[in-house]
Amino acid sequence: MLGSILSQYARTLSVFAVLLLIVLIEALGVREAVYPGLLPFFTWMRESSWLGVIGTTYGSVYATVEAVHLLSMAVLGGTVLATDLRLLGVIFKDIPSETLVTGTHKCFRWALLVAILTGIFCAAGVGDKVYYMQVFWIKMLVLLLGSCYMLFIKQPFLTSRPHAEINPWMIRLLAITSMLTWFTVAATGRWIGFS
């Protein structure tokens, strides 16, 4: 009986296991205990790693990589908006939503990969600055949760059946959550830049 439930609802149980883990990390003070130990790593990233040295020595390289980072975020945001606004029935009404959901996902994954790789370089150049910024950690948390949400929750669900068989309110909930998630990633990213 228990084994049947575990295998039948493995994905749901994983979600609640992650939620429980987050609650435990907060309740037991793990985050506060780990945080001070990360400072040497961020200082090393900026001052000693080749990423940080290149980023702080050659302004043109940093600016070029940051431009690629912004472009990849723009592509990522474009795929998210195209998909989610179609799911909400706002744009591209003549294209089946299933087509857009599957068609944009490959582009989304590549844009996410490029954004993460260039983002590591950008963060390394200002490692000892972002370490102290709460908004940087908010962005990392939302980026991690948003990526997992898109890759392991939303996309598998939306490609598992025709959208006509899904409750429209579920589709709206998924689309609004996705848009707010990536809006938060973009907004906190710009917040880092202006802090």
Binding site: T12, L145, G146, Y149, I153, K154, F157, M170, T181
Partner: protein
């Protein structure tokens, strides 16, 4: 919603995750909005967005 209109694994995971994340994000942005208004009140004395823009 799967066979026999049941909430299958992917459906429950998708809806619960989306609801939790949406709640968390709204909580964060409402909190940021509140703290922004508090900062503006500290800076300008009072903030009235709708009644009298000139006070702001």
């Amino acid at each position: 919603m799967g066979d026999n209109n049941k909430w299958d694994d992917k459906t429950v995971a998708a809806v619960s995750t989306a609801a939790i994340m949406l709640g968390g994000l709204l909580y964060y942005w409402v909190g940021e909005g509140q703290s922004t208004v508090e900062l503006l009140e500290l800076a300008y004395g009072s903030v009235k967005f709708f009644n009298n823009p000139l006070v702001f």
